[in-house]
Amino acid sequence: MPDQAAAAVHTEGHNPALLHHFAEPEQQRDAASLGMWVFLATEVMFFGGLFCAYLIYRLKYFGDFGAASSTLNTALGATNTAVLICSSLTVVLAVWAAQTARRTLLITSLILTLILGFAFLGIKGIEYHDKFVEHHVPGPSFSFENEPIPGHPGQFANPNHAQIYFALYFIMTGLHAVHMIVGIGIFVWLLALAWKGRLTPEYHTPVEIGGLYWHFVDIIWIYLFPLLYLIDKHK
């Protein structure tokens, strides 16, 4: 735990980004970092409620969930996982570029991150569209008749239980997508900061904590992919 400085007077003009209520830049940066980690802890619990609901219903309606899940495009899901992993790489490169004053790499990495983020959303959009066309969007137009349960030939999934699967699918991936959009917004702002030269080796806290957020959103997807897409694939 870093010690707070005993100096009553903070060094004026040392760093224009130093806020008045902090004694030194290190304290400000450690506060920002801890703040973002604590916020991510709240996000774990936010998604956690959905994981809880999913866990309970998957165990209860395993066959129906398998049937519903088998209508998802696993290849697109896997591709999206790879897209996000690549975007986490570009994020961490951006942080390193800021730390080492590599302006071109910083801006390139931020732009690549944005491109990959949009790619993720685009693929998600295609998947959502497919679901819409197949009447798998929960609501008045939902239909899931005569869909076989994987591994149980002759048995068909209960449409109500399948609707619960799709409800959770859309809410979980939808919430994740909302977080992606926020992340894209953050990285557009970071790109603007980088363009104006405000991210330096002395002060690059925004890209560090923006990066933390992005990696977290990646981690959520790392769990969503196997849970939602890979049920009973071998059957």
Binding site: M1, P2, E26, R29, D30, S33, L34, W37, V38, L40, A41, V44, M45, G48, G49, F51, C52, L55, I56, L59, K60, T74, A78, T81, A82, I85, C86, S88, L89, V91, V92, L93, W96, Q99, E208, G211, L212, H215, F216, D218, I219, I222, Y223, F225, P226, L227, L230, I231, D232, K233, H234, K235
Partner: protein, 97 residues
């Protein structure tokens, strides 16, 4: 956050990135093998390994001198575990009555 590796971290980043992609591919292929009841467990274990790698190396938890980060991560996971396990104490035992 407080400790930066002075030797090039780039090698680490690319190694982790490659590992993550390989692990994703493995997850995908293993899903099509019949492991009986263990399919879900294997998928989740691989996912946890991937998440851990992202947290340790991309989020710079590895080598960080800030103890609080580890406390925060463990606390979040612990309380999530409480939510899931104590709910299952009900749902999992209803059939026993």
């Amino acid at each position: 956050m407080s400790a930066h590796s002075t030797s090039s971290p780039l090698k680490t980043y690319f190694a982790i990135w490659a590992t993550l992609l390989v692990a994703t591919y493995v997850t995908y292929r293993v899903a099509f093998l019949d492991l009986g009841p263990f399919n879900a467990a294997v998928a989740l274990i691989i996912a946890t390994i991937k998440a851990t790698l992202v947290a340790l190396f991309f989020m710079h938890v590895w080598g960080s001198s800030d103890k609080m980060i580890k406390v925060v991560v463990i606390a979040a996971l612990f309380f999530l575990f409480l939510l899931l396990s104590l709910s299952m104490a009900d749902f999992g035992t209803r059939a026993w009555s």
